[in-house]
Structure formats: C-alpha cells, structure tokens
C-alpha cells in the first residue's frame, strides 16, 4: 500500500511515517498543498491522508481539485476542528473517512486498511435499490454516490433489510442480525431507534422502510 500524507506538523508526520513504515506501508510526506500536488502529479497512491489546515490553503481545496481531476483514490481527512458539524461536513467535501486530532496511531492504521480494502473490492456483492447502494465488502452505503455516514450497526441493519427487500423483519429477527456486535447489548427497543435513524439518512434515495404494526419492518423501493 502506498500512502501520501499531507501534514504540516513535522513531528506528527515523522511519527506517523515511521509507524506506517514499520507496518509495511510506503508513505510519502508533503508539507504543503503545492508539494502534495507535485506528488500526486507523478505518483499514484492507494490512500491520501489530508490535513485540513495547511500553510498554503485548506485541504478541502485539494480534495475538491482531486475529485474534479477524476482522482477516485480514497481520502482520509485529519481535522483538529472540534464541533460535530465540521466532522460531518468532511464527508460533504468528498472525503471517505476522517479522524479528529489527536488520534491513536493504531486507529489511523486500521482506517487506512479499511479504505484500501474498499478501493480494491470488486463490488461484486454490491446491492442497489433505487438510488441507494450497499457495498458490504467496502462497508459503504451511498445515495447517488454520496457516502452515508452510518454506524456499524446501522450499516448491518441496512444490509439485512436490503438483502431481503420486501420481506418483513421482526424486531427480534433484526436484533439477531446484530449478534455479531458482542461488545454491547442494545436490546430490541433500540431497533426502532435505529430504523428511525436509517429512515432519516436514506431519505430521498427512493427507498423507504415501512413499519408494519406488530409485525416488524420492511424495506421497499418507492412507487
């Protein structure tokens, strides 16, 4: 895996590079947007790690340039900004993932591998209903190509509902589908809340989740 790290804090960058190199990840380091452009011009990367505030501009500008130039490589944004609104907006810039500083190096590594796998996935398992697409291998759900910010449980639930489109799933059945998450017990009552969140997030995709009172939930394309 080859990674471009765009980060102006030299010590942080050095530490990250060393760490990644130990894990067998090749990492180029750019201090500024200009340097990053030079790197991108001559070398292809599997993942780009992009800091938002850089000496010669904002990382989001580079991201926008890259997307406009047709670069589809995954981008993980680093942000020192705190508020949730800003975290969410990272996706709207076209980022594939983000981390808030300070972050744990192990977390960074794990995310990089997820992004890399996602890039390599052949999308064979992808399910599409309306404008909503679900890629279980890459762990990405998107509406019209815009990635949805789903938690893992939401993602798993959406997977169950989409794989069995048109079928009615009881709360308990859906809960069973979440058994793999053994780190927490959320209970059947949480299903209702998850469904409500999913509904909000997939609104406008042409797909809706209906509640059948006393029986459960069913996902269907509209119309």
């Amino acid at each position: 895996m080859r990674v471009l790290l765009v980060e102006d804090a030299l010590d942080l960058a050095d530490a990250t590079r060393s760490r990644l190199r130990k894990s067998g990840v090749a990492c180029d380091h750019a201090m500024t947007l200009a340097e990053a452009r030079d790197f991108l011009a001559v070398q292809g990367y599997d993942v780009v790690i992009l800091d938002i505030s850089l000496p010669d501009g904002s990382g989001t500008d580079l991201l926008r340039e890259m997307r406009q130039a047709g670069h589809t490589m995954p981008v993980l944004m680093l942000t020192a900004q705190f508020s949730v609104e800003n975290k969410l907006s990272a996706f709207s810039f076209g980022a594939d993932d983000y981390l808030v500083k300070p972050f744990d190096q192990r977390e960074l590594e794990a995310r990089l591998h997820v992004l890399h796998r996602r890039k390599d996935s052949d999308r064979a398992g992808e399910i599409r209903i309306g404008a909503l697409s679900f890629d279980p291998l890459a762990g990405v759900a998107s509406v019209d190509g815009a990635r949805l910010d789903l938690t893992r449980r939401e993602f798993a639930l959406l997977g169950i509902l989409m794989r069995h489109k048109g079928q009615v799933h009881s709360k308990d059945h859906l809960l069973e589908g979440l058994y793999s998450f053994d780190d927490a017990v959320v209970g059947a009552n949480a299903i209702e809340l998850y469904v409500a969140r999913l509904r909000k997030k997939i609104a406008g995709s042409g797909v809706s989740i209906r509640t059948l009172r006393g029986r459960g939930y069913v996902l269907d394309a509209d119309g």
Partner: protein
C-alpha cells in the same frame, strides 16, 4: 465605533409614520370631502327648499275668492324671499281648477300634474337651466268656489350650488388645517417617542467597551421591550465573555500541569540510557498525552456546552436517542477497548426539552468517567419516572469518591488535573447541562453498582 458596520438604513420611522398618516389623511380627506359635499348639498337644498315653501305658501295665501273665482295678488314678500337666492331666476305659475292659468309661466304647467306629496319638491329645468321646483296646493271649499289652486315655483340652482360649495370648501379648509396639525403633531410625537432611543444610543456610546451591565433607564414600555432584549443580549455576551475568560484561566491551569509533567518526563528520557527505564518513561509520556488529549476534549466540550446552553434552541429530544448515540460512538474503544457498554431503553419515547448535542456531550463525559474510573459492565439508559425523565450511566463500581462528589460543580479541579485524570470535569459538565435544561444531576448507589443520572422535567408527547 467608527469601524462598526453602518446599519442598513431603511425608511425612517418618521417617514413611515408620515407616509402612512399622509395616506390615511388623503383617503380620509377624500372621503370626508365627498361627505362634506354631500352634506353641503343636502344643507343647501334644505335651506333653499324652505325658501321655496315659504314663497309658495305666501303666494297661495294671497289667493282670494272674488265673485266665485280665485284671484291671485302675488305679494312682493314672496319674491323678496326668493331674492334671498340673489343670482337665481324664478319661474312661477298659479293655476285654478282644471289647470286654468291664473298667472305666471304656462310652461311650468307640467309640474301641476306631477304626483307627489304636498308640497311636492323636485328637480327639473327652467328655461334651459337646472331648477328646483315646488308645487304647493291650496284647496278652497267656500260657498262660491270650491276647488284647488296650485302654486308652482321653479328656482334655478346657483345659490344652492354656491352654498353647497361654500360648505364643502369650509369643511375642506378645516380638514386641511386639522390634517396639517395632525401631521405636525405626529412629527412632534414621533420625535419625542424616538427621544429615548437617542438617549440609549448616547448612553451606549459613552460606555466602557467592557461594560456589559444592563442599561438601567426609565423608558416607555415599548422601548423597554427592545432594551430588555438588548439587556438580555448583553447578558448572554457577558456570560460568554465570562465563559471565555474562565476557559482561558482554566486552560492555563489545567494544561500547564500535564504539559509540565510531559516536559519533565521528556527531559528525563533525554538523559536516560537504560532501555527499560526509557521504555517506562515513554509509557508514562504516552499515558500523559492521551490523558491530555482527553482533558482537552473535555475542556472544549465544556466550552461548547456552555456556549450552546445560551445559544442553541431547545427542542424536544428523545433521550433514548442520546443513549443509543452514545453506545454507537466508537470513541470509547480507545479508552477501554475491552469494555462492554449496554443499552437499556424501553419502547416508549423518553422526551425532554433540551439541546441534543449538549446532552450527548454531557452523557459522553459521564460514560467516559465510568469507563475510566468505574467497573464494567457499563450500562447506558434512558427512562421515565413520574413526571421526570432521566438519562443515566451505571457501572458496577462504587462510584466517585466523596471528595469528587463534594467538589462537584467546582470547575477548579486542581486535584483531578494534577492526577492526570478528569472525572470531576466530566461531572461538572453533566451538572451544568442538567441544570441548564431545568434538571439536576443525581448520583445513586445501587445494589450492583453506581448510577449517575441527569434528571429532566418530562416533556409531554406531541
């Protein structure tokens, strides 16, 4: 204030008032003018109709019966009466039984047969000019003559028109004077009404920039509302300024200690040759920095929460959502990768009126406290009881120390900070949030652990 953005000037209040009032007066003026003209015409008609009646009756009275026939001797007084309309021409006709003309203008004969009550007054024409016509009938029942004598008088309308116009004009002049007076008065009233604004502006200009105390002036109620809003705004500004200042001072306190520790450990590491000792020192540095990052998060979280408590809109929040969000957030895995966090919620919404983000931050702090200082398993939940709702975090441990509980709400948690932990800060955030939304922070030892809950007044379901 020279560099302050000039407010976009819209139409001045005086101008608005004048335009509105002017429009009103214009419309009212037109209506009143029409009314005055109508009144003037009616008044002129009444006045001159009375002359006509008087003249006709005096002519009718002058009719006497001589040798079995009616004889008219038109009195000069009748015409003197009619001459009170000095510019008007007059036609008259006196007829006996069968319309026999006794004297006057035969062309007025038409009026004799016109139906109507007695005396009949109606509009007509006299030799090409509009005229008011009266028919006045006198009936005789005498031995020698029995029958009726009709007196018709037609009078042109110049005097009537003139009187109507005079009345209208006088009314209009009074109206115009009143209108101008109203406008002038309204300008004065607006001036005096806006006077307090000038005084407020002067008072604000004269202020020290740091002075955010409420404006205390005797003011009209309407402006009082605005000044109340201004005072509220300044109050919020003042609190935020205070928050900022406290944040800066807290930050100084709370950051210097761990940074000093880091620096000391780094110094130590620089001079250490023993690899084991070195690894130990690096481990300490790592723990310190992780905890410093956590501390930073909390301080920012607290600043944000305090900011939002003042600024964010209150909305109806399902506390179950907050609890779920909390369990969902993957962050806790960094702190305690192996901890199990359970969610315990019912199937009915648990509604409170609050700010979801602030609640989330507060709950997150409680959960991290539990993860860091408590014992697994950790349970996060939302539940309703009586007329209150709670968002709580429970762990299997014994709860915070008495010291921490006593210091709850004291933002100055030197002790916790110097230990490199921040349970107290998290609690203080939760307490601030709970209180900001009309609730409180409850700590309850339970048989199998310890529960910390934010308790809010229940919001009725919509």
């Amino acid at each position: 204030m020279a560099d302050a953005a000039a407010p976009r000037p819209t139409m001045s209040l005086s101008a608005r008032m004048l335009v509105g009032l002017g429009g009103l007066l214009a419309i009212g003026g037109v209506l009143l003018a029409l009314a005055a003209y109508g009144y003037g015409r009616a008044a002129a008609r009444d006045a001159f109709d009375r002359l006509l009646v008087g003249a006709a009756s005096s002519i009718a009275t002058s009719v006497s019966v001589v040798d079995g026939a009616p004889v008219v001797d038109i009195p000069v007084s009748a015409f003197d009466l009619l001459a009170l309309a000095p510019e008007d021409r007059v036609g008259y006709l006196v007829t006996g039984p069968g319309g026999m003309v006794l004297t006057g203008y035969p062309e007025l004969a038409e009026a004799i047969t016109r139906p109507g009550p007695e005396p009949a007054l109606f509009d007509g024409r006299f030799t090409g000019e509009p005229a008011r016509i009266i028919r006045y009938t006198r009936r005789f029942a005498e031995r020698s003559f029995s029958g009726q004598v009709d007196v018709v008088i037609a009078q042109t309308m110049r005097a009537r028109d003139q009187l109507a116009w005079n009345i209208t004009r006088n009314a209009l002049m009074v109206l115009a004077i009143a209108g101008v007076a109203v406008l002038v008065l309204s300008v004065l009233v607006i001036r005096s009404a806006l006077g307090p604004l000038d005084r407020i502006a002067a008072r604000l200009e004269a202020r020290d920039p740091q002075d955010l105390t409420p404006i205390d002036m005797a003011l009209p109620r309407e402006i009082g509302v605005m000044v109340g809003a201004l005072n509220g705004f300044m109050g919020r500004l003042d609190r935020q300024l205070g928050t900022m200042q406290r944040l800066i001072s807290d930050t100084a306190h709370q950051l210097r200690t761990p940074v000093a520790a880091l620096r000391a450990q780094a110094d130590l590491a620089g001079g250490e040759d023993d690899p084991d000792r070195l690894r130990q020192i690096v481990g300490r540095i790592h723990r310190r920095s992780v905890s410093l990052g956590r501390l930073l998060d909390q301080m920012l979280s607290r600043a944000m929460v305090i900011h939002r408590i003042d600024a964010a809109r209150r909305e109806v929040v399902d506390l179950r959502d907050i609890a779920l969000e909390l369990v969902e957030s993957a962050d806790h895995k960094l702190v305690a990768p192996d901890a199990v966090v359970r969610l315990e919620i019912g199937d009915a919404p648990v509604l409170a009126r609050a700010d979801a983000l602030s609640l989330g931050e507060a709950a997150k702090n409680l959960m991290f406290n539990a993860l860091t200082h408590g014992e697994a398993p950790i349970t996060v939940g939302a539940s309703a009881r009586d007329d209150a709702v709670t968002l709580w975090v429970e762990d299997a441990g014994a709860g915070p120390s008495e010291a921490v509980r006593d210091q709850l709400g004291d933002r100055f948690l030197r002790n916790a900070v110097s230990r490199g932990t921040s349970a107290g800060l998290g609690l203080s955030i939760a307490k601030s949030v709970a209180e900001a939304f009309g609730g409180s922070l409850e700590m309850t030892p339970r048989p199998d652990g310890f529960r910390i809950a934010m308790v809010f007044p229940a919001e009725p379901p919509q």
